[in-house]
């Protein structure tokens, strides 16, 4: 099964559950947290570590802090061998949820945390631009130095300082 199909399956299971909002939020947080931690990601990508051990580690780590369905779905994801595609799954899941709510998903990259006011401004501008509701998936990455990058579907608005500097570098190199 492809990552996309598996993600769609997860969304359907979550949507049909009673605590769908909670599970959605938890599962995305967990996936993004693991994907953001290199060491944790290395453990999930390591084929030498049995799936049972990975599931056990996750159970011990999350315990009763998350909904049981969240834990079950994380265990399912790991046991099915999707442990090294968590970031991709997280992205697909976010997109499907947004679609289910009649919205588009905008992936935003910034060097700092974006406050609610800023996020609302972004949503407002994108809604005006694309004519439909937009949900944000914000990623904080200090390596981009400053500015903002917004991707909706195939379209990307790149205002990152790192990208500008790369452009300057290319000009200086005469490319």
């Amino acid at each position: 099964m492809s990552t996309k199909s598996f993600s769609k399956g997860l969304v359907e299971i979550i949507s049909s559950s009673e605590n769908s909002e909670r599970v959605e939020s938890e599962i995305l947080q967990v996936f993004n947290a693991i994907a953001d931690h290199k060491e944790a990601l290395d453990v999930f990508r390591n084929f030498g570590v049995p799936a049972e051990k990975k599931i056990e580690a996750m159970s011990n780590l999350l315990g009763k802090r998350v909904d049981s369905l969240t834990l079950d779905l994380i265990s399912l994801t790991i046991s099915q061998g999707y442990g090294d595609n968590l970031l991709e799954i997280s992205s697909f899941v976010s997109e499907y949820f947004a679609e289910n709510r009649g919205a588009s998903l905008a992936k935003v990259v910034s060097a700092i945390e974006l406050d609610d006011k800023t996020q609302s401004s972004i949503k407002r501008v994108l809604k005006k631009k694309f004519g439909r509701k937009v949900e944000l998936q914000v990623e904080v990455d200090e390596s981009v130095i400053g500015g903002l990058s917004v991707s909706v579907g195939e379209r990307t608005f790149d205002g990152l300082v790192s990208s500008r500097l790369q452009e300057v570098k290319s000009v200086l190199e005469g490319r």
Binding site: S110, A111, I112, L114, T118, S121, I122, V125, K128, K129, I145, G146, G147, L148, V150, F157, G159, V161, S162, L165, Q166, V168, K169, S170, L172, E173, G174
Partner: protein
């Protein structure tokens, strides 16, 4: 004078009887003629043809030898003429060979010179290309070095931005994104 005439007449009378003495008798003459005829017949019948044949063969042999000698003489003459021609042409031949040798040597010299020239041009061209490539490589390296240095400095400067500057940058971008078609 009368005496001489008498003497002469007497001698004439004496000589007439002497002639008769000299002539053979008729029977001897007939026998002689007969014997001569027999001998003549034998000579005519056998000796003459044999002699003729011998003479004819001898004549043919001599003619053959003469003809052979003529041929040999002709051949010798021809050989001599050929030899003379050969000798006469020898100088021309030698000159021709020398000229051909000179032309070949000239051609070889020209070929070697052209080859050397082409090789020299190739070496110069390659050296020029190498030099240009090296110059481009150094130029590219310098550009890259300058670009990296500039990027490093810019990153350091940009990294020291305050939160307020960051927010200002983000808000400006949002505004720009809103106005961008």
């Amino acid at each position: 004078m009368n005496i001489n005439l008498v003497t002469f007449l007497a001698e004439a009378e004496e000589s007439s009887s002497g002639l008769e003495l000299l002539l053979p008798a008729t029977s001897e003459l007939v026998a002689g003629i007969f014997a001569f005829a027999i001998v003549f017949f034998f000579v005519w019948k056998w000796a003459l043809p044999a002699l003729d044949e011998t003479l004819s063969a001898r004549s043919e042999a001599i003619e053959g030898q003469i003809s052979k000698a003529k041929n040999e003489k002709y051949e010798a003459q021809k050989t001599r003429e050929d030899y003379q021609k050969l000798v006469a042409n020898a100088d021309e031949e030698v000159r021709k060979i020398i000229d051909e040798g000179k032309a070949t040597a000239e051609k070889l010299k020209e070929g070697i010179l052209n080859e050397a020239k082409e090789e020299a041009e190739t070496i110069i061209e390659k050296a020029r290309a190498d030099s240009e490539a090296e110059r481009d490589r150094i130029s590219s390296e310098i550009k890259s070095e300058v670009a990296n240095l500039s990027l490093e400095i810019s990153e350091k400067v940009a990294s020291s931005m305050s939160k307020g500057d960051q927010e200002k940058l983000i808000n400006e971008f949002i505004k720009e994104m809103g106005s961008d078609k």
